[in-house]
Amino acid sequence: MEIISRVSKGSKMDQVYIPKHRSGFSIGSYVVLKPLEKESAVEKPYFYNIGCIEPVKLHIITEIIKIIDKNYQNYENIIFAGSFLERGFNFNDVDLLLVSNTKQDVKYIKNIIEKNIGIKAHIILIDIKSLLEGLATDPLYQMMLSKCISKKRFIFNVKRKVLYKILDLQLLKSKILINNFDILNGVEKYYLTRNIIALYLYILNKKLSKEIVDKEIKKIFEISVKLIKQNMLNKKSFLNKYKKIYKKTFDKIMDSIQSDSK
């Protein structure tokens, strides 16, 4: 026998009232209370180059997927990336790509995630065409998606396109460090350095991932990423190497103009 009833508020304890005339549910018997709304089964996400992840993070991912499912209609996929997937809890927010061909406001979703889970979400709303275009032309996209978790399976076997104008614009961003070494903090310096190295490896047609780029940073600058982030740098020696790799990358990008115009 099943009875559907509402939980009502009591003064000391809340209760569930059931009709006096009933068959079964005799006084003193134990019953199970369960919410009527069935929890929708969440599909298991797909992992790409994730060695291990803390269970609590998986729980957060599941909760975010549920929130988006409820509040965003017709999306193609949700892809989690960035520092949230790194080991430990040294992240500021959860980076996620919401792949959708329709545009809806995501501010509302961000707010719900923050309110319900207590974590900031950096949601990038992107359509499939732009995502594929980004993956083919932008080293940062390749690096970001080299390690990710997605709701649905996705295959990004896109052919790299070297668009010198895009790469030049990306590289220009890293010039900031040369003029502003003293005012930038360690994390900013790391991101600007990572940007150059990612571009450098990209133009050399090398494989990209955060680990590969970090390893290359260590090799070129002879200093660990950790120390860069902590801003423990020898200005003269670091800037010398930085300028050299900046010029080298710039030259490589400019060299690609010839092959691009052919």
């Binding site: 275009e133 932008d138 940062l140 895009i166 900031i176 003029n179 900013e188």
Partner: protein, 113 residues
């Protein structure tokens, strides 16, 4: 104090020049759909230039003519030299006529002129 001001002006010029170059290179890209949406960590040159501007007196009124002239010349030279470097390597679609327009636009926004 003057020495400090001069140093700040140089830093201001360097960052603003970068920002103008960026703007001009953006206009040289024919494919407007390609843009990097994943750059939250990277500071932008204009923001930094603005920070320097906020440290240089006079704060809320335009600079004296002598300073404006110096900044304008130095900015134009820096931007042109960077752009010409690219043009000489075969970079297409760079419109040098935009340099003056963007410099004036930015200097106005930052209350330098």
């Amino acid at each position: 104090m003057t020495q400090n001001r001069n140093k700040l002006i140089e830093l201001f010029i360097g960052n603003l020049a970068n920002s103008v170059i960026h703007k001009i290179l953006e206009t040289a890209i024919d494919n407007t759909e390609i843009s990097n949406k994943y750059e939250k960590e990277l500071k932008n040159s204009f923001e930094i230039a603005k920070k320097y501007r906020d440290k240089i007196n006079p704060l809320y009124v335009p600079f004296p003519d002598k300073d404006v002239e110096y900044i304008r010349i130095k900015l134009t030279n820096k931007v042109n030299s960077e752009l010409l470097k690219r043009i000489s390597r075969g970079y297409e679609n760079i419109d040098l006529k935009l340099v003056k327009e963007f410099i004036d636009q930015y200097l106005k926004i930052l209350v330098v002129i």
